[in-house]
Amino acid sequence: MVIIKDGKCDFCGCCVGVCPENCIELYEAEIKIIDEICTDCGKCVWACPFEVLELRITKNKKDELI
């Protein structure tokens, strides 16, 4: 899953623009990732200019990948 580091996000929308699943919700000053839809592809993590996001492969998703 993608972890959002506290207090670092600038709400710029760069991550939303590359998310193939359209599962990032970005309000004026709040960001949410809908875990059930996220496929852990990592694109948002690399696109983020501020290093706000971090990919942690959870056990469940890892099992799916294998």
Binding site: V16, N22, E28, A47
Partner: protein, 396 residues
């Protein structure tokens, strides 16, 4: 429906525009001019803020939409300087001139123009879905003031919701930007620095901004927007902010930082489809950015104007199918040119640092009078003959 602060006057409009950036307010202005009832919804509390932009525009582009006004112009720029990885500086002989704006005030001004033409603007209005019926877009779902969920019906919705656009995707248009085309950007506005107030600097190189460039755009004598974009794929190794911090530490150690912002620029071709039943996309939402420079203010306004005019006409003639003409009009006006620029971008970013240095050395021998953009391009091609084939492909 209740009247009050931050509340739309009606629950039904001819045209609803999502996003009050330059593309959205320009679309709203031209749609309202034709007599349509237009509403603009903006999620932030403030139009034009935060400013996620280097704020550079050409005079020629700007005057198509608004008379330049010192109220929102920070400086007038006449020269470009391009800096190669080894520090060689090239000064191309460019025609025309441009401005560094105060976008916070500029965006306000554009919003005001839209309202003078009859459009209504509501802020703190977050669009979180579309009303769909039988594959047609018939309005928007809106979270107002972070508390109240409402629906607003419209004959036409114009998605002008910027790089983070989701409006098109909700209606089945694929506007996701490829990671390699997304420029992951950071900018700091610095003061207490020495800058040439009439010159824009561009720095290139793998160490400065891989797959992009770094800019220094002057805002007066001792202030500048200093920012960079790296192609999204490079963020895997190191994020954009670290690149900028390193550059500033080295080049402007005594600067005071007035503001730091993050941003994304979709430096791609225009999305394949930017219209569907009841929906049009404009600006960054449609990827109407110049893919080489990343400039999207003027091109977004051009897209907005075309879309607004066509939407207005569709309402007037009561023929909603007219909006499908927008795609073609955009392609004729700028879209096709952007496709060519996109190919140029792909070949520019193939140059290694050594190649860039070599080209810069060649160029520095050419006298300023002859250093037009065309000669610059020809010299670059000569430095990498295998690219000639690719360049030829651009034109045939």
């Amino acid at each position: 429906m209740a009247f009050g602060k931050n509340f739309p006057k009606f629950d039904y409009y001819d045209i609803v525009v999502v996003g009050a950036g330059p593309a959205g307010t320009t679309a709203a202005r031209f749609a309202a001019m034709s007599g349509a009832r237009v509403l603009v919804l903006e999620k932030d509390r403030d139009v034009g803020y935060p400013v996620r932009c280097g704020e550079a525009v050409s005079h020629e582009g700007l005057v198509q939409f608004i008379e330049p006004n010192p109220k929102w112009i920070a400086s007038t720029v006449r020269y470009f300087k391009l800096v190669a990885p080894d520090g060689t500086v090239i000064k191309p002989n460019i025609e025309g001139f441009g401005y560094i704006l105060e976008r916070r005030i500029f965006d306000y001004e554009l919003a005001k123009l839209a309202t003078y033409c009859g459009a209504e603007i509501v802020t703190k209005a977050y669009v979180n879905g579309l009303i769909m019926n039988d594959g047609k877009v018939e309005g928007v779902k809106v979270l107002l003031n972070n508390s109240e969920q409402i629906e607003i019906r419209a004959k036409i919705v114009i998605g002008a919701d910027g790089v983070e656009s989701r409006v098109g995707r909700w209606a089945g248009l694929n506007t996701t930007c490829k990671l390699q085309d997304m420029e992951s950007a950071v900018q700091m506005t610095l003061t207490n620095i020495n800058v040439e107030p009439d010159t824009c600097y561009f720095y290139f190189g793998e160490k400065v901004a891989p797959g992009g460039y770094l800019w220094v755009f002057p805002k007066g004598e001792n202030t500048a927007n200093v920012g960079l974009g790296i192609a999204g794929i490079y963020g895997r190794q190191k994020h954009a902010l670290s690149y900028l911090e390193e550059f500033i530490e080295k080049n402007f150690p005594n600067a005071s930082i007035l503001t730091v912002i993050a941003g994304g620029v979709p430096c791609a071709k225009t999305a394949d489809k930017i219209v569907t039943h009841g929906l049009m996309l404009v600006g960054d939402a449609a990827h109407q950015v110049n893919p080489v420079s990343g400039g999207g203010i003027i091109s977004g306004m051009i897209g907005g104007k075309i879309a607004g005019q066509i939407a207005g006409e569709a309402i007037k003639k009561n023929d909603l199918n007219l909006i499908f003409n927008y795609e073609n009009e955009w392609r004729k006006t700028l879209g096709q040119r952007h496709e060519r620029y996109y190919k140029i971008k792909q070949f520019i970013y193939k140059f290694s640092d050594e190649k860039l240095n070599e080209i810069a050395r060649e160029l520095s021998k050419i006298p300023y009078e002859n250093l037009t953009l065309k000669n610059l391009f020809l010299t670059a091609v000569k430095a990498q003959p295998s690219l000639i084939v690719e360049v030829l492909k651009l034109f045939i």
